[in-house]
Amino acid sequence: MNPIQSFLSRAFPALHGGALAGAVAGCVVACVVAVLILQALPGKARKAVIAAVTFVAGLFYALEFFLPANGQDENILTFAVPTVGNVTNVLGGMTLGLGVLSLIRIHGANVVKVKSGWENSALLLTSMVVMAVAGIKFEQTLFYRSLFRDVLNSFDAAMFAVLAFFIVSAAYRAFRIKSAEATLLMVAALVVMLGQIPIGQYLTHWLPVKGSYLSLLRLDNISNWLLTTVNAPAQRAIGFGLGIGGLAIALRIWLSLERGAYFEAKADES
């Protein structure tokens, strides 16, 4: 056990029963107080606090990655990785709560003010409450299973299945061969898709699978060549660009340099 781990174990011993419940309640109260203090602070001070917390939070993973590891592939911070992972999951859960609050605020106002389409808002809120209660209180019952399997899943699958019809219609209307590039795209798409399906593969099934130059003419082999030799480098190039862009954005967010509606503008308002 390293010094940080040993200090944390002494400062925060494992709690059970009433003590654990008390500690959880204390944490909730402390969080509420922290949010209230944050709200009361002037914009610039609030921004500084948020920037500092963001930096320290991001610093954990950076340090854990860069600090030299011992023979067991661990360093002084590695012990805390599972706990920090759980904290990020809790934070992720809180964003769900934010979404729910936002839905209640917007659609609740629609219902109360009887705005146009308020019936849809009422149905949305009712469905949300019924599904939440069913999931929390009646998870092992037919009621929940029926709502989940017969209603939610069916709607979800149906919504996605409709896409196939739109794709067919859009391909017929929009896929026009008007240039050399469009022709190349069309031919490549045709070969790749034919090479993926039995009907397409059947067209050249009489050619040898391998061991002969004729095998290069099999549709499944041409399709595979296009995917592995033409598509893969292009994907790699796109991925490389995305990676660099992602790193730049991550650094800007970590160092609180990012500007925009969710960052600078809010702090300047108050």
Binding site: N86, L91, A164, F175, M193, Q201
Partner: protein, 278 residues
């Protein structure tokens, strides 16, 4: 008066919808018994499971909901079937979409009844986690400490025989992800370098072309290319179930797509010709 164009450029969309519906229904009722060439990626996925030692745990990660279950469910099903046939113990985990954990649980229960798999002894559900990066970082160090309890009985993982000898991702033989999303980047970035376990991926068809670069580098051992990959896997298992039958409507729908693109383009050239003549 403007030229309304060749009739082939003006096919009512309802006819297109009707044609697609008819082809899918007919394809499901009357499958065309054509052979399907098994891709090298699917073969490598199969071989990873086939060569997995029986005393090690396989991690099955799912990120799919009802929307992509047409492709992801058969993929998950054939691999679970293979694991159970070989009597390899496995753990389910879900990221990204909360529906995923329930759908995978239902599928595993269905297969477990057939192959007499016992929950807790032969398989376990580690549940749903919102944040994949934080969770994977934790699992690289300690799975029990990161995930703590299962999602069915909410009991500590250490109490289950299926988790015996499993401390972190180094103790896994295969990691198989079934996904409608780009989760593979997190797995490749955070886990693959820390374990010798084979990482296999089963995405939807639309996602699959992205993965060839990782297949090329060997970071992803094998892949199932949408429902076609599932049908190939079923073929490798020596079975002909629903997945194999479902390839017929997929094939026919793609042929319809080519025909319609051809008609649309012929209509465009015919219209240009009409305009040139008038």
């Amino acid at each position: 008066m403007s030229n309304p164009g060749h009739p082939l450029t003006r096919i009512n969309r309802h006819w297109l919808y009707g044609a697609l519906l008819a082809i899918v229904v007919i394809g499901l009722i009357v499958p065309i018994p054509l052979p399907l060439a098994v891709s090298p990626e699917a073969t490598r996925f199969y071989e990873a499971i086939e060569s997995a030692p029986k005393d090690k745990l396989v991690l099955v990660s799912t990120l799919w909901s009802a929307s992509t279950q047409g492709e992801n469910r058969p993929q998950t099903q054939v691999v679970l079937k293979h694991l159970m046939k070989r009597h390899i113990r496995f753990a389910l985990i879900a990221f990204g979409d909360a529906q995923s954990t329930t759908l995978a649980q239902e599928l595993a229960e269905e297969q477990a009844r057939i192959y007499k798999y016992e929950y807790g002894k032969d398989w376990i559900n580690l549940g749903f986690r919102q944040d994949i990066a934080g969770t994977l970082k934790g699992m690289v160090r300690d799975i029990n400490e990161t995930l703590k309890t299962d999602s069915v009985n909410r009991r500590p993982l250490a109490e289950y025989p299926v988790m015996a000898g499993v401390r972190n991702v180094k103790d896994l033989s295969v990691i198989a992800e079934f996904s409608a999303s780009g989760n593979y980047k997190s797995w490749v970035g955070l886990v693959v370098g820390s374990t010798n376990a084979a990482f296999c991926y089963a995405p939807t068809s639309v996602m699959a072309p992205e993965l060839y670069t990782y297949l090329d580098s060997g970071q992803i051992r094998g892949m199932l290319f949408g429902i076609k990959g599932a049908a190939e896997y079923e073929q490798l298992l020596g079975e002909k179930g629903f997945t194999t039958r479902a390839i017929t409507p997929v094939s026919l729908a793609l042929v319809l797509l080519f025909v319609l693109i051809g008609l649309g383009n012929y209509g465009m050239y015919a219209t240009k010709k009409m305009e040139g003549n008038s």
